[in-house]
């Protein structure tokens, strides 16, 4: 009887643990998972200000500007349909360049500028998010656009 009791308690503890872990996992996923968005989706209002997200697009030609501190850069990310200004402070990947793809982790600021914490350039072999593979298809840019 006692052993059976013990087993029941153990099973109950395990069940509670699993349920708790499930709730923990689901809530953490809801809070922390970052959506991948294109500039057009951002413009369409799919993201909230301050919500962690990942922005993917091409760096518009002629848009990269360096601030005088030598560290902050501003550029425009575009998908051919819409454009979002991006600000980033830090060392950009070597392959980050105008007219090439990039993915940025960060969040939208209330003034409509995307503040990036990290930038990943396309062809940067250090990291290629799976989303990158699809970019050339849905992103046709006329030269000099």
């Amino acid at each position: 009887m006692k052993a059976k009791h013990q087993r029941l308690i153990l099973a109950a503890v395990a069940l509670c643990g699993v349920a708790g872990a499930g709730v923990l996992g689901a809530s953490a996923l809801r809070d922390e998972a970052a959506y991948f968005r294109t500039p057009a989706e951002v413009k369409a209002g799919k993201t909230m200000v301050g919500e962690p997200m990942r922005l993917g697009g091409m760096v518009a030609a002629g848009s990269i500007r360096r601030q005088s501190d030598g560290l902050t850069i501003d550029f425009v990310a575009t998908d051919g349909k819409a454009s979002i200004p991006v600000q980033f402070k830090g060392i950009v990947p070597d392959l980050f360049a105008e007219n090439s793809g990039m993915v940025a982790d960060g969040r939208m600021r209330a003034d409509g500028i995307f503040v990036a914490d990290r930038i990943l350039a396309k062809h940067d072999e250090r990291y290629m998010p799976p989303q990158m593979g699809e970019m050339p298809k849905n992103m046709k840019l006329a030269p000099g656009e």
Binding site: A3, Q6, I9, L10, V13, A14, G17, V18, A21, L24, G25, A28, L29, D31, E32, A33, A34, Y35, F36, R37, P52, R54, R66, D69, G70, L71, K89, G90, I91, V92, D94, L95, D105, H123, E125, R126, Y127, M128, P129, P130, Q131, M132, G133
Partner: protein, 655 residues
């Protein structure tokens, strides 16, 4: 000729695997002894032939035989020798052959050395191992032939991803693979024991060295991989929760759970069904890992251009093995007799909680890794990053560490709560001192790092308790192993917590001659010089770091450019410079030149970190592996045989 010979050997080895499987099934069904005699030699021969084939592939890379497609695509005649050799497995086909080699050699080792198991269980185990090999042979021979010749040999090869040209690469994948595939033996033992219904201490003891062994390699592989990512990527982090990292962590978690539960089965004959289940889960997880990485499901540096056909093939293999094993388990689980009983407050009880926590963390990491893939299949693109993992795994890992404090101090079967408390005062005192010290003098520290350091202190003290009042020379090796491994967890945990709590970062654009302060160091940027390596050119920065006590050190971070070979684009990498000090590491990255108004580069971007105690993380990782190795050594059959023989000889002398 070498390539053709290699391919022929692979076919013969595949045929031998087929033979082992068929004979094994026949033997288990009919029980005819003359059949069983075939399985051992066939397993050994299969392992040897596969290993020779792998050796031939390495020979092709060493000779830079560009008529072989794999060599032409992944090597270059000018590459340093170490990378020519490593190039043999730094690609899809070669790494699958390595996988098969380890699978075959493991089977051969079981066939040669395993003497404790009942014969039918051993034959069933070898047949299961052969079944695993057979699937991967089919995969290799039909869709990823490493020995394929080109109709016309190119003048030279295409080289190897420069990022992978690092001594780390030479050892990282093989180490992880030995870990991944070593668990296959545990899987095969589980299948074998399920088939013959021999699930008990003998089976657990036969399985344990393989679990420990593969877990040691996984630990070393993960630790080395973490350090590699730390200094090679130049991002300053040591763990990114990248899917590729996660799929190595998941089998490691399963292995950690398994090596604890297998001890319970071996010592107490309890948790029998659970141990078998875990063995199946552990290998399933390493196959899931291989599948995710190899199929190109994730695109990162670890997946070498892959096609969907291969992904489907691997998925099918995985479904067959995991599905088959789980079905067998479902059929037989009911007949597994209940193990020995134990109270909740006992060593078994705490190991059950350890297992529950480890599998929960495993499930949550797996969830985070697979969720983006599932979401993408449903049309939503999502990335799950460090915030998720830190939130779910951090607290659970801390609770796990607390269980680690009490577990080894409890008696088997049942124990007394009050007695447990009486064993803990020093550890709790140590934790309290750290906690109050940090709260009072530590400045602003996050909750998780604060708890992390506190728990590390408690674990460090409590892990030594099993040695208390013991004759250290007579303490069995496995106990030493446990103590060292648990103590090392405290070291690693302290490193992780201290690094995240007290890290200092500076990001500047500095002109030559400028000085940057980071923590205790004044770092003077002396300037840059162009330089050249064996197959790259680089801009080399010179920085002089001076401590407040006057000690001075020179650092040379580099920005390297590897020329594109055979029309591929050039690749650039940032080579961080590290200064290791007793208190931590100074980490410097040279960024891009900043052009001034006159169009010349007058400043350079520099990123500097002071990372307190960061190297404790890898020291802890390496020591955990050493602890596990002692544990394994203490239980090794060979050692046992030797000890018994020596004891017998000594007795004979006195007789």
């Amino acid at each position: 000729m070498i390539a053709e010979l290699g391919l022929a050997l692979l076919w013969i080895a595949a045929a031998l695997a087929c033979l082992s499987l068929v004979v094994g099934i026949l033997y288990v069904r009919t029980g005819k002894d003359d059949l069983a005699a075939l399985v051992r030699p066939a397993s050994v021969a299969q392992g040897v032939l596969t290993a020779v084939a792998f050796g031939l592939l390495i020979t092709l890379f060493v000779r830079s035989d560009m008529s072989v497609e794999l060599v032409a695509r992944n090597s270059h005649s000018l590459k340093p020798m170490l990378f020519k050799v490593a190039g043999a497995w730094g690609n899809h086909e070669g790494s699958m052959l390595l996988w098969l080699t380890i699978l075959g050699v493991s089977g051969a080792l079981v066939a040669i050395f395993e003497k404790r198991l009942r014969k039918d269980t051993l034959v069933a185990t070898l047949a299961a191992q052969a079944a695993l090999s057979l699937g991967f042979f089919a995969f290799l021979l039909f869709s990823s032939n490493p020995f394929k010749r080109l109709p016309v040999a190119p003048p030279d090869g295409q080289g190897l991803n420069p990022l992978l040209q690092d001594p780390g690469l030479a050892f990282h994948p093989p180490t992880l693979y030995i870990g991944y595939v070593g668990i296959s033996v545990a899987f095969s033992f589980a299948v074998g024991a399920l088939v013959t219904r021999e699930i008990g201490p003998a089976f657990a003891r036969a399985m344990r060295p393989w679990v420990l062994g593969s877990w040691i390699f996984l630990t070393l592989g993960i630790t080395a991989g973490s350090y590699w990512a730390y200094y090679e990527l130049g991002w300053g982090g040591w763990w990114f929760w990248d899917p590729v990292e996660n799929v190595s962590l998941i089998p490691w978690l399963a292995g950690a759970a398994l090596l604890h539960s297998v001890s319970v089965t071996a010592t107490r004959n309890a948790l029998r069904a659970w141990t078998v289940m875990l063995a199946v889960i552990a290998f399933s997880m390493s196959m899931v890992g291989t599948f995710i990485v190899r199929s190109g499901l994730l695109t990162s540096v670890h997946s070498f251009a892959v096609d969907p056909e291969r992904g489907t093939f691997l998925l099918a293999l995985m479904a067959i093995y995991i599905g088959g094993a789980l079905t067998l388990f479902a059929l037989r689980a009911g007949t597994v007799a209940e193990g020995k009983k134990f109270a909740l407050l006992s060593r078994e009880g705490s190991l059950v909680i350890n297992n529950l926590l480890l599998t929960t963390i495993l499930a949550l990491v797996l969830l985070g890794t697979l969720y983006p893939i599932v979401a993408e299949a449903m049309g939503e693109k999502i990335s799950v990053g460090p915030p998720y993992y830190n939130k779910v795994a951090g607290p659970l890992a801390l609770i796990l560490c607390l269980v680690m404090v009490t577990g080894p101090l409890l008696n088997w079967r049942k124990d007394d709560g009050k007695k447990l408390w009486s064993r803990l005062p020093i550890a709790i005192f140590a934790g309290a001192v750290i906690l109050f010290g940090l709260v009072l003098f530590g400045g602003k520290v996050g909750v998780l790092p604060l708890l992390g350091m506190t728990v590390a202190g408690i674990v460090a003290v409590a892990s030594l308790a099993p040695l208390w009042k013991r004759n250290l020379r007579r303490t069995p090796l496995p106990t030493w192993g446990m103590v060292i491994a648990h103590f090392s967890v405290a070291i690693a945990l302290a490193g992780m917590a201290a690094e995240s709590a007290f890290i200092k970062e500076r990001l500047v654009a500095a002109a030559p001659g400028e000085t940057v302060k980071v923590d205790d160091y004044s770092v003077k940027f002396a300037g840059v010089t162009p330089t050249a390596g064996p197959n790259y050119t680089a801009i080399r920065g010179t920085l002089i770091a001076t401590t407040s006590s006057g000690a001075s050190f020179t650092l040379h971070p580099e920005a390297r450019t590897f020329p594109g070979l055979m029309g591929t684009a050039p690749t650039e990498t940032n080579e961080a410079a590290l200064l290791t000090r007793p208190g931590g590491q100074l980490y410097v990255v040279l960024g891009q030149p900043v052009t001034g108004d006159d169009g010349t580069a007058d400043r350079y971007q520099l990123r500097l970190w002071w990372k307190p105690l960061v190297w404790w993380i890898w020291l802890g990782g390496a020591l955990i592996a050493i602890g596990a190795a002692l544990s394994m050594l203490g239980r090794a059959q060979l050692l046992e045989i030797w000890r018994v023989r020596r004891a017998r000889k000594a007795e004979e002398r006195f007789a």
